[in-house]
């Protein structure tokens, strides 16, 4: 069966660290904030940022909610210690419960999960404002293509270094950057309710989905061609259905154009202009 093409991991790490350095310089701000979930993606982003701008310009936050596992926070502490980062803990459990009660979503784990993701976003953007910082996102390409994220929650960030990096390659980056094995080996999870895993929700795991997404999204092969090449039909159908269903998340908002100067349509401008 066809595989996802390999990537030169040291070059990828070098390039992404340089990207983080340039985005911070161009913004004129002084540091990055990010949420360290205890998972692989945020650990890799933190390690890349350390290479790009140094540990003193990174403010990592552990943002546990009422149902977060203790292990997640322990892993976040482990990553921060390894990278020489001063981890700050903001327990979002109490505000999450108050808000859930106000909104009436306590019993609905999906709504509550989305609420938690958006509370984390709120906390990170607030701290970014206080610290003259940019919010560093931790979404990877596989998640983005599948729309496996909370709109305006974990998906919201100023800078996404892994947004064009397949999850398969995030594992390789994690190995290269020396992320602890316990984090590399555990199942990907948004940790929004006990026992939640990405694969459990999606119905397949990223290592299975990545080659299918690559040959469809990057190389333009259709469903029939993918099956003819040996990918199992049910898996192809499931992956491509998710890929289509959640596409609206790639462009989180649509502006109704009623003039000839609509932002990002008629006027595509640099993000950080300066004299």
């Amino acid at each position: 069966m066809l595989k996802l093409p390999a990537v030169d991991v040291p070059l990828l790490a070098q390039a992404l660290a340089a990207f983080l350095a340039e985005e911070l310089r161009a913004s004129g701000l002084s540091r990055y904030v990010l949420g360290l979930s205890g998972g692989l993606d945020s650990a890799v982003v933190a390690a890349l940022a350390v290479r790009g701008v140094g540990p003193k310009r990174i403010l990592p936050f552990a943002l546990p909610g009422p149902t977060s596992s203790v292990e997640s926070t322990q892993h976040a502490i482990q990553v921060a210690e390894q990278l020489g980062l001063a981890l700050r803990l903001l327990d979002l459990g109490a505000p999450a419960q108050v808000l859930a009660q106000t909104l009436g979503c306590e019993g609905d784990r999906l709504r509550f999960g989305n609420l938690m993701a958006r509370l984390r976003m709120t906390a990170l953007f607030d701290q970014a404002r206080a610290e003259s910082a940019l919010v560093l996102g931790t979404s990877n390409k596989s998640e983005i293509l599948l729309g496996y994220c909370t709109l305006f929650g974990d998906q919201a960030a100023s800078v996404q270094p892994l947004g064009d990096v397949w999850k398969t390659h995030v594992y390789a980056l994690g190995e290269f950057l020396g992320i602890p094995q316990a984090i590399l080996r555990k199942n990907p999870t948004a940790d929004l309710w006990p026992g939640q895993t990405d694969a459990g929700e999606l119905g397949f795991d990223y290592l299975e989905a990545d080659p299918i997404l690559y040959y469809h999204h990057d190389q333009g092969l259709g469903e029939g061609e993918l099956v003819a090449l040996g990918f199992p039909q049910p898996l192809v159908g499931q992956v491509l259905a998710t890929y289509r269903r959640n596409r609206f998340k790639w462009r989180p908002t649509v502006i109704a154009r009623v003039s000839a100067s609509c932002v990002n349509v008629d006027r595509i401008l640099p993000r950080n202009p300066r004299p």
Binding site: V7, P10, Q14, E22, P270, P273
Partner: protein
């Protein structure tokens, strides 16, 4: 003749930042006794300026170009900028300054508008392809995509070009090799251009990131037989290369391997006539 190739990182819309990068390269080039410094495509404005060209485009009298004019009194400069045209429209231009004067201008002929490129939306294409006369030789200037159409280099050499200068803003991807894919493609192209035109070919590419797009650098200078004169510059890092170009040797190469002189222009002409029908 000593030619500096300035591999610099630029930021769209940050003119002061970009000019500082030019100044660094000019200082280094002066220390290395260069006669000319070649910068990447749209080096002053940054490449991914989008509709920012409406603010950033300049005419040749624009006061924002005063520092370039001044710096050119000490070393000739070939700089990339969005050039406002008298009849309206903006060209993706290369401007050659020497002794405080503009001595040559090339407008990019091929504006890529596919994949991640959208230049046809912001610029108007050039209409002329001639070498720029310069005291030390005739310069054949190609701006990025121009070099991907081999006819451009062939025509320039046919019209008496002594050396080809490619000013690039070549984006790149990371593949399975330690050399970025874009740099590898460029090196094939620069090498093929040098050896098929039997003409020294010098490639100045931008490095770094703009608006989330990676530019890999890898600037490089070759003689007309494919021997390295300078570089390649490292991946992704600013660098100043200086190549010593021997025009007498270049002429000797074209005598020993008269490949460009053998170009069958009648085939091109016949194709053009058939296409016109």
């Amino acid at each position: 003749m000593r030619v500096g190739l300035a591999q610099i990182a630029t930021c769209p819309g940050q003119l002061s930042h970009n000019w500082q990068a030019h100044l660094w390269a000019i200082q280094e080039a002066k220390k290395a006794d260069a006669d000319l410094v070649v910068f990447p495509e749209l080096s002053l404005s940054g490449y991914l300026v989008g509709h920012g060209v409406l603010e950033l485009a300049m005419d040749l009298e624009d006061p924002r170009l005063d520092p370039v004019r001044e710096a050119s009194r000490e070393v000739a400069l070939l700089v990339g900028l969005p050039l406002r045209l008298p009849q309206g429209g903006i060209a993706n231009a290369a401007v050659l300054w020497e002794q405080g004067q503009v001595v040559g201008v090339h407008h990019k002929l091929y504006l890529p508008t596919y994949g991640m490129f959208d230049e046809g939306r912001y610029f108007v294409p050039g209409q002329r392809l001639v070498p720029l006369p310069w005291g030390k030789g005739k310069l054949g200037v190609l701006i990025c995509e121009d070099a991907w159409h081999p006819s451009c280099a062939s025509l320039l050499v046919h019209r008496g070009t002594d050396l080809l200068l490619i000013m690039a803003g070549g984006p790149s991807e990371v593949g399975d090799d330690h050399v970025p894919l874009g740099m590898r493609r460029w090196h094939w192209l620069v090498g093929a251009t040098a050896i098929t035109t039997v003409t020294p070919t010098l490639f100045a590419n931008r490095c770094g990131w703009e608006e989330g797009i990676l530019f890999s650098g890898g600037s490089w200078a070759l003689d007309g037989r494919g021997r390295t004169l300078a570089g390649p510059a490292p991946v992704g890092e600013p660098a100043l290369l200086v190549a010593t170009v021997d025009l007498a040797a270049a002429r000797r190469h074209r005598s020993l391997a008269p490949i460009p002189q053998g170009e069958r222009w009648e085939l091109w002409q016949a194709h053009g006539e058939r296409s016109a029908c």
